[in-house]
């Protein structure tokens, strides 16, 4: 069960990608993929990170393990009394911290190196983190495979000999091989067929409990997030628009975007046909997001607001703040939450 101990504290994180234009290909603008995200992650919890494509959820995940470079903000990792800013590490600290956060990827076809056996793929990281002998490495990798419900001998097989579900398990095993504290699951089950998806979801749950891991679970599938997460953060155009306990968020979404998003999902239950809020238009270009609240051009609530209220939505960017003042914080970034 999640504790109240903060393990990761993300502070005003910004990740921009330059857009080059014009005669000399100068940087004309930036795609603000992650635009000032504040997030606290507690030891042992599963934080769901949802949003539509292009909202910045994957970039946020990759920024945390620095697969893409952030341009501003802090990522503080707490270990006991010590705090490390992941964006400013000395080389020794870097090696120490690197193994604490690992990632599981989406695509079971590209997540494993087709030229190597499972053992071949996994042994280099182990070498790097000090497992000297081959026998030791074989043992560790064998144990890991068993932990993900596979057979030890399969470490000598090549990726093309595995099914999609098996590859995803190997991906999980790889993330676990250096004993991380936090695992970022980046769309880890999205590419799998439903029947396999359930297997992997269960496996992730088991492993988390067995190893006391913390998950950052990134997906666009709100049903899956609801099932697996303790808390859920909803992202829109590089910002978190709502962050709450999973139950609270699904029962009483406060942000109009979250509401629309939840209502848009077809539910495989004939008794629960919802009233669908159909959003108009497309997600705006993240190079030039709308002024004020970035959601206002599509916001169903915006239309019913009075003119001065509309002006506020268009001019002032809302801050993520607690809307309910209940025991568990329910943060919303909206001037007029429900």
């Amino acid at each position: 069960m999640p504790s109240q101990e903060k393990i990761l504290h993300i502070n005003g994180l910004k990740t921009y990608f330059p857009v080059r234009k014009g005669l000399l290909r100068t940087v004309a603008a930036h795609v603000k993929a992650v635009d000032g995200v504040d997030l606290e992650i507690y030891r042992g919890e599963t934080l769901g990170l949802v949003g539509e494509s292009g909202c910045g959820k994957t970039t946020l995940g990759k920024s945390i393990i620095q697969l893409v470079g952030a341009v501003g903000g802090q990522i503080l990792y707490h270990e006991g009394e010590q705090t490390f800013d992941l964006l400013n590490l000395s080389p020794e600290e870097f090696k120490h911290i690197r193994q604490k956060i690992q990632i599981v990827f989406q695509d079971p076809h590209s997540s494993l190196n087709p030229a190597f056996t499972v053992f071949g793929s996994l042994q280099d990281p182990l070498k790097l983190y000090g497992v000297k002998t081959k026998a030791e490495r074989r043992k560790i990798i064998g144990d890991l495979l068993e932990a993900v419900n596979m057979r030890r001998e399969q470490m000598d097989n090549y990726p093309h000999e595995f099914s999609g579900g098996q590859r995803q398990r190997i991906g999980i095993a790889r993330a676990l091989c250096v004993n991380p504290e936090i695992v970022i699951c980046d769309e880890a089950v999205s590419a799998l067929d439903v029947s396999i998806q359930a297997q992997v979801l269960q496996l992730l749950q088991e492993i988390k409990e067995a190893r006391g891991l913390t998950y950052i679970f990134i997906t666009h599938d709100l049903s899956v997030v609801e099932y697996i997460s303790d808390r859920v953060a909803v992202m829109y155009l590089g910002k978190i628009v709502e962050l709450a306990e999973s139950e609270a968020l699904y029962r009483t979404p406060r942000h109009p975007y979250t509401q629309a998003l939840l209502s848009a999902i077809p539910i495989a239950d004939l008794d629960r046909k919802s009233d669908r809020i159909v959003l108009e238009g497309d997600v705006p270009n993240p190079v030039s997001p709308p002024s004020g609240c970035a959601f206002h051009p599509r916001c169903p609530k915006f239309k019913s607001l009075s003119e001065p209220e509309k002006q506020r939505c268009m001019g002032e960017s809302p801050q993520l703040s607690d809307a309910t003042q209940l025991t568990q914080p329910h943060l919303v970034s909206c001037h007029y939450p429900n």
Binding site: S223, P266, I267, V278
Partner: protein, 335 residues
Amino acid sequence: MSADQKVLSVKDLKTYIYVNNRCNKALDGVSFDVYRGKTLCVVGESGCGKSITASSITQLLPKLSRIESGEIVYHSERGNIRIDQLERNGPEMRALRGAEISMIFQDPMTALNPVYRIGSQISEGLQYHSKNTLAQLKQTSIDLLRQMGIPLAEQRVDDYPHQFSGGMRQRAMIAMAMSCKPKILIADEPTTALDVTIQAQIFELIDELKQRHNTAVILITHDMGVVAELADHVAVMYMGNIVEQGTVDDVLRHPAHPYTEALLKSIPILGKGKQQQITPIQGSTPDPYQRPKGCQFEPRCPYATERCQTFPDSQSISATHDALCWHSEKVLSHA
């Protein structure tokens, strides 16, 4: 549901694929009917044959594949047409495509030709199925785009596909498919490449068009949620067979096939929270080249008995509900 409402019936259709010098029995005896103004959802996991079903109907199969046997009958106003006996790209087949039966595809980005303007691609089919001047064609394209809810249709009709967003492209695809007011619209996973909020828009649109033109829709999907929201009839496919079919109520409320049952149990359902139990289906889909002998689901099936070593006969549960399982009674009662 009277027989004259039937627009398409497929009987014991077998389509095999011959890629890499091997024979994959992608469809191995598929039968279903499609009714005017109704939506048939074909649902299943990847590789189950649902897309092959769709392309068999329009004979838009990959080159290295063939309809082996069975019937595809299109009940047109001029009488019945045996589609399976038409030459693949022959004139009779072409007269049906687009005009009577049209398709929309999964990825609107690749399904549109990148070098032609949206408008000309929309009206291309019309050009061959009706006699229109170029100006008329363009006007029709604009009207269609407007109907699909694309703002500034007069201007956007001259855009190229890459200038459209994903949702708009799929709308353009639908405009193209609906341009000749077909009797049957086959939608092959039309929203898989789109975000949920856009998916909702597209489904609204398809539903509206279906109502307005009384079009029969065959919707191919892997998403049970989509089925629940849109289908009138459901066909569940597994390894080239329809393992269960019936009305949406029949199938979703009273699954009679262990696969349907297991599938429904394995997906988390929105709103049921963290406490819901999901039960994965054991094992994985078999290699299509090394199929189980009898019932294809047998190796993964909790109900499996020795009898399952022989291929099951279709069991009729009710007038509208069939399942391909020796143990369907047991499954029904279990649920």
